[in-house]
Symmetry: C2
DNA sequence: ACATAGTTTAGAATTATTCTAAATCAAATT
DNA sequence: AATTTGATTTAGAATAATTCTAAACTATGT
């Protein structure tokens, strides 16, 4: 048993159906892991967390599931420097803040309109379908969030 | 002999001096390779180009030199998805456009003020020292640039 | 029930990058 | 000028995230 809420389970099977892929226990569990702890885990971290709910799952399957979730639009990959890819189920437009000290990644909500405005700086010949905005720095005194 | 202009040679040794590192023929040659063809090459590509000017250089040295140039602020790393790191000697504030079709990366000038404005969306507890903006998509009909 | 196609799995393979340790080089000092 | 010292270069080994491979499994449609 995974901890997907009815709503999320629905969103998952809709999205999978829509892209011609099956809803499987592995995919549900991986998705629930991402939704339950929204700290931008790496594939390895997702693997560890998923394993505690589904001990027989393999790392290859975790990679497969993550790729599937990305391909059907439910999850985004976050690439920070040369570090392992992180996964993020936050679909609303947002940026990321990467703390150099702790290595942690935080979501930063971006006012609607800002993304539009950003796209506006692109010369006409470029047609962008995604915008990635990453800040890097550190958190003010003591704030660990 | 590498093809560094007097100005760039000066900037290089100043920056290296300033960070307590030596000016070497390898570093000069790698830097000149980056300045001569500004197409965001990977380390492997830099290696191939440098080799034609300095056949004895090793790939490890190319990595070392690139790291050195980044550390003294003359070059920026550009990380696009899971692809190999690319290197960029453009120090003016700019974004990148990554063409999904060709894989090429283009510099996109960003109006001064835009970067400031971006930093403005960050809640107070975040202190950013760098902002990375990457667009992904494709070039309009036929435009290969 | 059977065929088909999609999915999972363990382990091997890949690949960009980093590490290691020896050789080389260059500046500073005797 | 020789010597010491520390930085740099180098080839090759090691690392680590990710992808690939091929066999086993599962679900679905006929």
């Amino acid at each position: 048993m995974n901890s997907l809420k009815q709503m999320d389970r629905g969103a998952l099977s809709d999205a999978l159906d829509h892209s011609g892929q099956r809803t499987t226990p592995q995919r549900e569990t991986v998705f629930s892991v991402l939704l339950d702890q929204r700290d931008h885990p790496t594939a390895d971290e997702v693997y560890a967390r998923t394993k505690s709910r589904m001990p027989t799952i393999s790392i290859a399957t975790v990679y497969n599931c993550l790729e599937t979730l990305v391909s059907c639009g439910l999850v985004k990959q976050v690439n920070i420097e040369r570090e392992p890819t992180r996964y993020c189920p936050n679909l609303s437009p947002h940026a990321h803040f990467h703390c150099r000290e702790t290595g942690r990644v935080y979501d930063v909500p971006v006012p609607s309109g800002m993304m539009q405005e950003l796209a506006g700086v692109l010369p006409g010949e470029y047609e962008a379908d995604s915008v990635e905005l990453v800040f890097r720095g550190h958190l003010a005194k003591g704030k660990t969030k």
